[in-house]
């Protein structure tokens, strides 16, 4: 099956990371399928569905194959969903994977990464392939069966680290993707 053209994932703009000493980047995760779980700690659907599913992905796949990354995309109640509150939340809910705090925008409630990915709300699960391209984005709930199928398919795609940098050129063997990061500049 040919891989469709897909835009390169915008870089994450994070003001603070938890659960990691080394801030993860798209470049450092090249070669892995990335499950980006965007949430707000006071969003009921995130707590009851999105984060438990992200934990199942984290537990169910090899860390060498799939990287689960959390992103705290606060766009409401910002005064109480602070990084300090998030830290307590991550501790109480025993979230083990890296979680970044999305950088607030100079103006408006939508933080920068959330805006760059055109997320509609929380929870949002973004699937990024081994080449760093956004392949699918789910807003709200997606079933485990469908999500598993998509991850399984992405893992099956051919991947050769060519030495070149697809993030720069936006090109792979299958074609050239629009670099959406340029678009936002």
């Amino acid at each position: 099956m040919d891989t469709p053209y897909a835009p390169l994932a915008p870089d994450w703009q994070v003001q603070q990371w938890f659960n990691t000493s080394t801030p993860p980047t798209l470049a450092s995760l090249r070669g892995k399928v990335i499950v980006l779980e965007s949430f707000q700690m006071l969003c009921p659907g995130c707590v009851s569905h999105g984060l438990p599913q992200a934990l199942r992905v984290h537990a169910g796949f090899s860390r060498d194959q799939v990287a689960v990354i959390g992103l705290h995309t606060v766009f409401e109640h910002r005064d109480v969903m602070t990084p300090a509150a998030l830290q307590a939340f991550l501790h109480e809910y025993r979230i083990p994977f890296p979680v970044g705090v999305d950088q607030p925008a100079p103006r408006g409630p939508i933080p920068l990464t959330m805006r760059a990915y055109a997320m509609q709300g929380t929870p949002t699960l973004t699937l990024i392939d081994r080449h760093g391209r956004v392949r699918q984005q789910f807003f709200g709930q997606v079933g485990d069966l469908e999500l598993g199928a998509r991850i399984g398919a992405l893992l099956e795609e051919p991947w050769k680290d060519s030495g070149g940098d697809p993030a720069t050129s936006g090109c792979t063997d299958e074609g050239c993707a629009v670099d959406s990061r340029r678009d936002t500049e």
Copy 2:
């Protein structure tokens, strides 16, 4: 079935109420069975079990018969589980019943009402009968069937508003209860 002796429920010491314009008191609720749901907004067991159960009780019984009261008994992460954060939480989780913020103690992490009721942690569900006496207290999870049976039994107990004030005397037709509030003074 004779009603066992039971201690009068200590009065609630609350610094702020949400979802009510009139602070509820034990005296004002005399004649109703009270389900007191003590929780912390960042406690996973409270969010996944205690509060949904309290919502089912709130929806399943007549307001004339059963009063559901929430109590935010913060004993950890106090800097982030503020009244303002609780307000956002109650909004996002659509909690409709009155919720009080337990009064922090001058010393130590356990707030005053939590201490007076000798709660072991959160969630804690306290059943208070029509005469204002603590009849049962569950720490952790209690099943709906068992909780329903206890509420149903309490609703079935004879209740005559004698005009006197059992809260003062600690006495009812069935006997006299120790006034635990004196104990804590």
Copy 3:
């Protein structure tokens, strides 16, 4: 709370009992609250909801207080929901309480006990009080909280074994109930 008038429960007309050496009767269970769970082994709602709930009741209350009785009220697919098939079903699903096979009617698909209780289908849960009177009947699903409350209330009702036979007279301290069994003769 005064006990409302309620009809005496019709006797069970059972062709075969499982899980008991002594066929239970309403008379032999006088003094206990009875939860009568009527089901069909190929009824999805019975398997997913009714029987699991009956198991929870069986496990959650004292056998001295509450008796759980199953009734296999087959009104469709009678050729395959035979007593032999039921026996295999009860074994595989580890149903521990007594289960009777409702006596087929000479004419029509509705078996005799199901007809006497005017059940609308399966699952049906019938609550019978300590005096042998039908107090409530639920067709379809009833929540644990509501069911628990009803059982708890019935357990709280005064019960004195007067030596007389309320099943004969239809009368108790609270009044006289219509003997619905006469109605069906």
Copy 4:
């Protein structure tokens, strides 16, 4: 990712099919991923987990890509789990996909297809790839995430209908598989 060697799936030996006018065969399904759900109608784990999961697969993937096939592999209580009883079961549980009744063995309780696939019990889910090879077999429960990932990966594998018959030769572009059907002759 190279496709591992995998044995060709043994042909199904079925005495009767339900929910289909044309008995499905491995040959007729070549080109699709097959989810073979083996169950017994009185097996609790099949009813609560295996069949609902098979229904989710049936609903969640294109019929052109994934074929869900049920197999009633009765190895106990055979006198009551008859084809007629199965028919009533399939009707009540609204199972829409084809279900075959595994052919009883001349001797012993294990039916022929169950034996040929070396199944350990029920439920068993067997994944068969587009080339008709058994790629994975789960006894008991498998999570939706893991199952989805396996199906997604199988769907992603290259598939060219070469016109030849890989079922005869046991060979594909990736290699040659042992024909397990010969083994059982």
